[in-house]
């Protein structure tokens, strides 16, 4: 009968599926496979090299790297945690760390650190970030700072010298020499720049500068965060703080200056132009510079058809500042192989792996020798990355990103406000103090 024939095709297809999947379930002997998850495919080759070296030294442990892009990474990890199938070791980020910690998903590695006498003072980024109540939930793997990415060809054309950018200054009132530079780089359709009295801000063909309203979840990390810090502003009083200082007048002045570069001066693109992202405008040669994190060095330089330079951020009223943020490698609390997972985390946080990763020139490892290797690797590609490394070494002028409870709710509340300031619908001085009250109320009412 025809019917049953069709059915048997379906059944045999399903059978084929069963067969295929059966072959996937690998036979395991004494050897242990540690699953390790990370998100940036650009970093995968570097960590694969680490994994190969690790397996050479520990022949019974194989590392299986699972890579997926940022958003899939976190969705996938959450689902896997719920199902109890999370990878043994995964890359952790402070935006998710507090939640993972409070849900008991991270293994306390302090006993291992004590037993193996791991020296935690060798890390460039404060390892205590990953310590709470005497327990340790990860070891630093890398760090990033913010610098100004600039189009070296356009800078040369505008006659801006290395000296100009090495010592440029900024303040929220008149923007200092930094704003002068922005003005010089902004061109209208008639070829007049922003310093020209006849400059037509309704017909700009090249922006001197670009930056969005800022991502509320990281305190606008690559955007106005460092500018605000250079006025002496502190968003919180440290990790696990329970009050935010979004009502600081210095912050309002900074954010307003930032928005006014578009709204009043016409030197920077607004929301409409930024729709496709800061990278797109820069790579198309439409914007001359933008502040960005060191994680973007590889993707911007490999896609650019012009020479890209990295300048230190301008010196503010209280000096030059940059946020420093680092990732850690954490062990899943439900792992079946905690000892082997620890071996791998220890190796990831060791100078040996840092050197291997450094040689790939994709990211700055958390250990100085690895950084030296990375600087050399970038040098080989013709890139001077000192703007990132100099500030990173200056512990008095770097600060950590906000890490508190309720980050996600705060982001939901704050993002519309930042957007409205940026779009000119409200003034920073009015809107920020107001939202700050609501944010701080989260810590007093909820739980």
């Amino acid at each position: 009968m025809k019917f049953s024939k069709k059915f048997s095709i379906a059944a045999s297809l399903l059978g084929l599926g069963l067969l295929l999947s059966a072959s996937i379930a690998q036979a395991q002997g004494d050897a242990v496979t540690i699953r390790y998850a990370l998100w940036d495919s650009g970093q995968q080759p570097a960590y694969q090299a680490c994994a190969d070296e690790f397996t050479k030294r520990n022949p019974n442990i194989t590392i299986s790297i699972e890579q997926s892009g940022w958003s899939q990474y976190w969705d996938g990890l959450t689902t896997a945690l719920v199902a109890g199938t999370a990878p043994d070791v995964f890359t952790d980020h402070i935006a998710y760390y507090p939640e993972l910690l409070s849900k008991g998903q991270l293994l306390d590695i302090q006993p291992y650190v004590d037993k193996d006498k791991v020296d935690t003072s060798i890390y460039l980024v404060d390892p205590s970030l990953w310590v709470k109540d005497g327990k340790r939930y990860g070891l630093p793997k890398d760090w990033d700072t913010i610098a100004m990415f600039y189009n070296a060809d356009e800078f040369a054309k505008a006659g801006i010298t290395a000296d100009d950018i090495a010592n440029w200054t900024w303040n929220p009132t008149d923007g200092g020499t930094f704003e002068q530079t922005i003005a010089k780089l902004t061109l209208d359709g008639n070829g007049k720049n922003g310093l020209d009295p006849d400059f037509d801000k309704s017909n700009v063909v090249q922006w001197g500068f670009e930056g969005g309203p800022g991502d509320a979840s990281s305190g606008a990390q690559p955007d106005w965060s460092a500018f605000a810090a250079s006025t002496g502003f502190k968003l919180t009083d440290g990790p696990w703080a329970t009050t935010y200082h979004y009502d600081d007048p210095n912050l309002a002045a900074t954010v307003q200056w930032w928005a006014d570069q578009h709204l009043v001066k016409g030197f920077a693109p607004g929301s409409d132009q930024l729709g496709s992202g800061v990278d797109s405008l820069f790579l198309a040669g439409t914007a001359a510079m933008f502040p960005m994190g060191s994680w973007d060095i590889g993707s911007v330089t490999s896609s650019a058809t012009f020479k890209v330079g990295f300048a230190p951020l301008p010196v503010g009223p209280q000096g030059r500042f940059s946020p420093i943020n680092g990732l850690s490698d954490a062990i899943y609390a439900g792992t079946k192989h905690p000892d082997e997972a620890w071996q791998w985390v220890k190796f990831l946080a060791s100078p040996d792996c840092a050197n291997i990763v450094g040689d790939h020139g994709v990211v700055f490892p958390a250990i100085q020798t690895g950084v030296d290797r990375a600087v050399a690797a970038y040098q080989k590609k013709g890139l001077d990355v000192s703007a990132f490394t100099t500030i990173a070494a200056d512990k008095d002028h770097t600060y950590l990103l906000p890490m508190t409870d309720h980050i996600s709710e705060i982001t939901n509340m704050l993002q519309p406000v930042l957007q409205n300031i940026f779009d000119g619908q409200v003034k920073a001085a009015d809107a920020l103090p107001q939202i700050n009250d609501q944010i701080n109320a989260l810590f007093t009412t909820a739980s």
């Binding site: 958003s71 976190w74 969705d75 959450t78 689902t79 945690l81 719920v82 998710y96 939640e99 849900k103 008991g104 998903q105 309203p213 991502d215 509320a216 979840s217 929301s271 409409d272 132009q273 729709g275 496709s276 797109s280 405008l281 198309a284 439409t286 996600s408 709710e409 982001t411 939901n412 993002q415 519309p416 406000v417 930042l418 957007q419 409205n420 779009d423």
Partner: protein
């Protein structure tokens, strides 16, 4: 059709099948489908409803907390704002999409039977939503998109398609672009089951194209229309893919595209508040159910005029 079966008409009517046999066969026919629906949709959903009465994070705790999540929902500004954004999206999406699809389906039956045209109309549905959104992001880009280039050539002002006020209509358009052909195909299949003689009769009676639409097509298409409307409204309320691609992690410019599904995943996957996320999902379900019931009552789905 075989001759023997046609001659069967001349025989006197025979006895109907015995009810017990019919019941048995009916259950046999429904069983696989019912098992699938119960195991993979209904029971998980019931579990989801149960979760909405707990403070579960599926990891460390799952205590029954009664209606607390629902009380929180009533006072949650973000929930009401997502609901408003979602409704706005649906209102931009559904009417245009439905009219467009119906027009295309009618043209595909009445104007031309070109197979190539049918292929082209259906083409967007072959593309995954993620890609469709990304392509439209580049097409509608403010500085680099060809749409704005054309506007400029025509001497018109450029339009920012993804700012706080325009992002929802733009996303609705992207969805319309992808699904219009799909919905047209549903209408198309429905149009084919309308006997051609009815159109001939209408033409003989001197009806023009519009009159034969209002008197033949529209009433006879009712079961398909109600089906299309219900499924597309339900789908539209759950818009997610395009928002996930077009909006930054924080939900578009200033959170202007935080649709309700975005909020559910935000609460579930970023805040780990599974219980509360389930409560929002249940609220969404109730809203959609009410709308579907209104639609069914309005169109009286069960009565096809063909009988």
């Amino acid at each position: 059709m075989q001759a023997s079966r046609i001659t069967a008409y001349k025989r006197p009517p025979a006895l109907k099948l015995r009810p017990r046999t019919e019941t048995l066969i009916a259950w046999l026919f429904i069983l696989p489908s019912l098992v699938g629906i119960m195991v993979f949709v209904f029971i998980p959903a019931v579990r989801g409803i149960y979760l909405s009465f707990t403070n579960s994070d599926l990891l460390t705790r799952s205590d029954f907390i009664g209606l607390q999540n629902y009380q929180k929902l009533l006072n949650d500004a973000q929930f009401w704002s997502s609901l408003r954004i979602t409704v706005e999206y649906v209102l931009f999406n559904i009417p245009i999409q439905t009219v467009l699809a119906l027009t295309l389906a009618i043209l595909m039956t009445r104007l031309t039977k070109s197979n190539i045209l049918r292929g082209i109309v259906f083409l967007p549905y072959l593309l995954p939503m993620v890609m469709v959104t990304m392509v439209w992001l580049t097409l509608l880009d403010y500085d680099f998109g060809p749409v704005n280039s054309v506007l400029q050539l025509l001497g018109l002002a450029k339009i920012g398609f993804f700012n706080q006020t325009t992002i929802i209509p733009s996303l609705a358009w992207i969805n319309t672009w992808r699904y219009a052909g799909y919905v047209a195909l549903l209408f198309f299949a429905g149009l084919q089951s309308i006997p051609g003689e009815l159109y001939e009769a209408a033409t003989i009676d001197g009806a023009n194209e519009w009159q034969s639409f209002t008197h033949v097509t529209w009433p006879l298409l009712r079961p398909v229309t109600v089906f299309v409307l219900i499924t597309s409204v339900v789908g539209s309320f759950q818009v997610w893919d395009s928002v996930a691609v077009a909006a930054s992690p924080s939900g578009g410019p200033g959170g202007a595209s935080r649709v309700i599904f975005w909020y559910i995943t935000n609460v579930a996957f970023t805040q780990f508040n599974i219980g509360y996320a389930a409560a929002i999902a249940v609220a969404l379900f109730v809203i959609v159910l009410v709308i579907a019931l209104i639609q069914m009552w309005y169109f009286r789905a069960d009565s096809s005029d063909l009988g």
